[in-house]
């Protein structure tokens, strides 16, 4: 069998003395959308940070196309084709919208995404392209954050709570862009607190609870009862 795009094997992660992840395993195949759900503090963002190279982890805990990349510095991970849309958007405030996008694209990886395509995906960004990024609404900023990550032409896009703090109608707009992104053949890992949204978007779902995988399976086979049991640990 061919190596999957991403394989996470028995991943442990620590913040100092505090252990945030305990033996987490996960698998993402080419072109697949995977959702990671769980309560606050379950370790979802930590999992993405480990994959993106923002936290120290065991070398063979993260494998990308069969190659161990655990612990590689973040700037090398992104050059291999794994891009993160960080929690809370984290745009560069002193840069304009377009400059933020260009920073994402500065590695020059080949692929379908460029400024024109990102403006095609999020048309409302084009008219604000020369504005400072903090002047945009929360939803527009989230679009810039997604566009910035796409500009690096990743094979795997990690999205950390892209619905956080946004109005439901805006969340709908943003999630509407996910199929178009996946249609380019890249895989997505979506961390989400909104379970309904996660189940609607993803094929495979992992539920984390206190740093462990409490439940996983095909989105359509998971019942509400199973999920709430895994989510809250009751």
């Amino acid at each position: 069998m061919a190596d999957p795009l991403l394989q996470v094997r028995a991943l442990d992660a620590h913040y100092g003395d505090f252990q945030a992840l305990f033996g987490v395993s996960m698998r993402v195949t080419e072109g697949e959308v995977v959702a990671v759900i769980g309560a606050n503090g379950a370790g979802k963002s930590t999992l993405l940070k480990c994959i993106a190279g923002a936290m120290p982890v065991r070398r063979n805990a993260i494998q990308y196309y069969g190659v161990s990349i655990g612990g590689d510095p973040a700037h090398e991970v992104v050059s291999r084709g794994i891009a993160l849309v960080p929690e809370g958007r984290r745009l560069f405030p002193s840069l304009t919208v377009e400059e933020n996008l260009l920073i994402g694209g500065q590695l020059g990886r080949k692929g379908p995404w460029n400024l024109k395509r990102v403006y095609g995906l999020f048309p409302m960004l084009e008219q604000h392209r020369h504005q400072p990024s903090p002047s945009l609404s929360g939803g527009q900023q989230q679009m810039v954050a997604i566009g910035r990550a796409l500009m690096s032409n990743p094979r795997l896009l990690l999205c950390d709570e892209i619905s956080l703090g946004l109005a439901p109608i805006v969340i709908r707009d943003i999630y509407a862009s996910i199929p178009a992104i996946a249609a380019e053949g890249l895989s997505l890992v979506i961390v989400e607190q909104d379970i309904v949204q996660a189940l609607k978007t993803a094929r495979h779902v992992y539920c984390l609870q206190e740093g462990r995988v409490a439940l996983q399976g095909e989105a359509k086979t998971l019942t509400r009862e199973k999920i709430s049991a895994a989510y809250f640990g009751v």
Partner: protein
């Protein structure tokens, strides 16, 4: 007319101070590093120019072709080999390490070149001047130095806001951890910023060496002039730094005109007045 002359000379001197300040402000802006060795690096550049001029027998201005790349390489290596290791949440380690570096550079230069003061001779251009009417004349060299300072500041401004490297500098300054997630290697970006800073230091060092006598001990005073120009102008604004340098230069010139002993004191007083009345500086960067 005497006063017009005084102010004019002060403005031209201010260009040099702005150049001392530009490299300092660049480094602080990109990586929050306060480089205590900045003044000594200016003096080091002056001695690199001295050796170049003596070895090759060329004009000091021409020596820039060698001194600028040499200092830039020193800057890149220094940052990657040493200073990157001191950066973190704590401002103190880089302060201590650059303070130590300052002591090492001063003593190293003292060992190699003695405490005798030296000067670079740029030839006939040093005493040429242009009459501007009313019995006033402006030295060609000070004017050229000021013009060079304006070019350097304008170039920095252009680099910061119009190029991919400048974008990387600003992004890394905004949020180093996210910059890394976007594929920027901070260690390399910081080293490029230090290389650029020391390239400016090289220009400042050569101008200083042509303008006046220098010896291994004058670095710290240049650092203070640089700091004062940055603070007067407001952090993060390149044109503000130029204005800060000019105000400092004019204050010193006016002080010296009143009483030769007041030269430095007047500059410090101008700095303190600005700090007391407008702690954010005259032209602080407006957050967009």
């Amino acid at each position: 007319m005497e006063w017009v002359n005084t102010i004019l000379q002060g403005v031209l001197l201010g260009g040099l101070y702005a150049m001392f300040a530009a490299g300092l402000s660049l480094i602080f802006g990109v990586m929050r590093l306060v480089n205590i060795a900045h003044g000594d690096l200016i003096v080091l550049a002056a001695y690199v120019a001295l050796v170049t001029v003596q070895t090759l027998g060329i004009n000091p201005i021409l020596s820039l072709v060698i001194v600028v790349p040499v200092m830039a390489i020193i800057g890149y290596t220094l940052q990657r080999g040493l200073l990157n290791r001191t950066l973190g949440d704590d401002l103190l380690p880089p302060l201590l390490v650059t303070f130590g570096l300052s002591v090492i550079i001063q003593n190293g230069l003292l060992e190699l070149f003695t405490a005798d003061s030296v000067k670079l001779n740029a030839g006939a251009v040093e005493i040429e001047s242009i009459a501007v009417g009313g019995g006033l004349a402006v030295g060609v060299l000070p004017l050229a130095q000021f013009a060079l300072a304006v070019v350097v500041i304008a170039g920095l401004q252009w680099l910061f806001y119009r190029t991919a490297l400048g974008r990387a500098f600003r992004a890394t300054s905004d949020d180093p951890s996210v910059a890394r997630l976007m594929g920027l290697n901070n260690a390399h970006v910081f080293a490029l910023a230090m290389a650029l800073s020391l390239a400016i230091v090289a220009v400042a060092g050569v101008l200083l060496a042509v303008r006046a006598n220098f010896d291994p001990a004058i670095g710290p005073a240049r650092l203070i002039f640089g700091f004062e120009a940055v603070i007067i102008g407001g952090l993060g604004s390149m044109w503000g730094t130029l204005a800060g340098g000019i105000i400092l230069g004019v204050a010193q010139a006016v002080g010296a005109q009143l009483d030769p002993g007041w030269n430095l004191l007047a500059g410090h007083i101008a700095f303190l007045v600005v700090l007391a009345l407008r702690p954010q500086g005259l032209f602080p960067k407006v957050q967009g």
